[in-house]
Amino acid sequence: MEMNKAIIDIKNPVLTIKDLSVSYEKGKYAVKDVSAGIKKNSITAIMGPSGCGKSTLLRAINRMHELYPSIQTLGKIYLGNEDISAIPSIKLRQNIGMVFQRPNPFPTMSIYDNVIAGYKLNGTRIKKSKKDEIVEKSLCDVVLWDEVKDSLHKRGTFLSGGQQQRLCVARTLAFQPEIILMDEPTSALDPIATAKIEDLLVELKKKYTIILVTHNMTQAARISDLSMFMYLGELMEYGITKSLFTNPVNKKTEEYLTGKFG
């Protein structure tokens, strides 16, 4: 089945994916030959039916698959001009932050420690004043500062789901990464918390580049600049969000957007 794929070309991409394939089991590809560039300071949404490989693609970008020896990855990804496989993974992951589907603050750490977890984890020594500064700045960035500033030394797990998720974003921001990967960051949240995160993302893209996996089409339409549509592991269509939603080129994309499946 050959389909007419429509893939936009991004100039000066901050990230370039080149012929990427990922397989969990031999011979079965969860992501097949995906190539695309990611635009700086934009929100790129990845959509597609369940199991189409969205998460898999996203996780390839910060080499998360390397943790599981059985997963095979082919193709290349470039951060700027540099092949990410040439960058030490611990460095790469600080440059490409990640926020997960379910809020996952470290349960044994306080809110304060959660924010500077990145430094704590790798044993970087920084001054208390510098730490305070980072914590305040990151929490302000995610609009959580006012809510938690009096309970910085309580456990992060006592927060509400939406607050926890913002805390996780703050944790990622603390390193000032270039790119932030987000895998359905609002799917475990209620509508009000979701709206807050969406506002936050729009705010964040001024400084960061965001790649967002989402099941929620209206969310993608609302906040993303560019959208990808994946199907059975392949990238079917990639373009400016507005034109993709109003005038999809690929037939599968159209069916998906009109609710025929998914």
């Binding site: 000066n12 951060l79 700027g80 460095k91 600080q94 440059n95 990145g118 430094y119 390193f175 270039e178």
Partner: protein, 298 residues
């Protein structure tokens, strides 16, 4: 086309972190190997030292006395005799212990799984867990005070098996309860909806369904007590002949090992009987694993 903007603060010193990571990994591998190396060393030692003695006589002769061993050593022969009295004694006592521990253990296990939240059941469960931690030598004392002094009026296989059966009890209770808890309640309800009375459901549906699990628990308990020495020393005492009278002193393989260990003339036998005992216990463990993989429900 922007150059990669590395962060200023944290990126230096990362190679040191990588080295640290590697070093810790190597430490883990090394210590893990150390942790399991005794198994290898012990098995090799037992085989090298003990295999020579293992022949037919080893299984059908009773333990030799010092003089017989001495004569054999002087003539450069292998020590005559075997551990038949120990094997029969071990079998006798473990069987007897099983006869006492298995029914009570299984019935109590059923009671616990049927009455999950009752206070009494909780008390019993806690008692059983405490029993599991009681050192075997203390069980030996108790069996001495109960059985040796009052019942058999003398060291006896029965006294030995009582201490073993108290060791087995909590293991069987626990495995029975866990097994039965794992059986989905729909199996039970299916039988009930056929109009089967409750007690028949327990004995005809739940127990057969959990048979693999029960068997695993029982075999594991047996393999635990097979190597017990301390409580038998002060209850069964040991015997130089084959004895099937449960009111009389009786030997057991670990007791013979203790005797052989104490008598350097019989040293060769200590290795072979240890090899035998360990081989037997390990075999039981392997069987248990097999059953656990194949039979256990779920």
């Amino acid at each position: 086309m922007g150059k990669i903007r590395y962060n200023k603060i944290q990126t230096n010193g990362f190679s040191f972190r990588l080295v640290k990571n590697k070093v810790f990994f190597c430490f883990v591998i090394f210590m893990s190997m150390i942790a399991i190396s005794p198994v290898v060393f012990i098995i090799i030692k037992l085989i090298i030292k003990g295999i020579r003695q293992i022949n037919l006589n080893f299984f059908i002769d009773v333990a030799p006395n010092t003089l017989e061993a001495m004569t054999a050593i002087a003539n450069g022969e292998i020590i005559p005799g075997g551990i038949a009295n120990g094997i029969t004694g071990s079998i006798l006592m473990v069987l007897l212990a099983s006869v006492m521990a298995i029914p009570v253990g299984i019935l109590t296990g059923i009671y616990l799984s049927e009455n999950q939240d009752k206070i009494f059941a909780n008390i019993i469960r806690n008692i059983s867990e405490i029993l599991q931690g009681v050192p075997s030598i203390v069980l030996g004392i108790l069996s001495y005070l109960w059985i040796v002094i009052n019942i058999t009026k003398g060291f006896s296989a029965f006294a030995g098996s009582v201490s073993l059966s108290i060791m087995m009890l909590p293991l069987i209770i626990k495995s029975t309860e866990e097994t039965l808890k794992m059986i989905p309640s729909t199996i039970k309800e299916a039988a009930l909806s056929l109009g089967v009375p409750y007690h028949k459901v327990i004995f005809k549906v739940l127990l057969p369904t959990g048979l693999g699990g029960l068997l695993t628990g029982i075999l594991l308990a047996i393999s635990r007590v097979l190597g017990e020495t301390a409580p038998l020393m002060i209850t069964a005492l040991g015997s130089s002949v084959i004895n099937f009278d449960i009111t009389k002193p009786t030997s057991a393989v670990p007791l013979l090992i203790w005797e052989f260990y104490n008598d350097p003339n019989l040293l060769d036998l200590v290795w072979s009987s240890s090899l035998f005992l360990m081989g037997f216990v390990l075999m039981l463990n392997i069987i248990v694993k097999r059953i656990a993989n194949k039979w256990v429900y779920g």
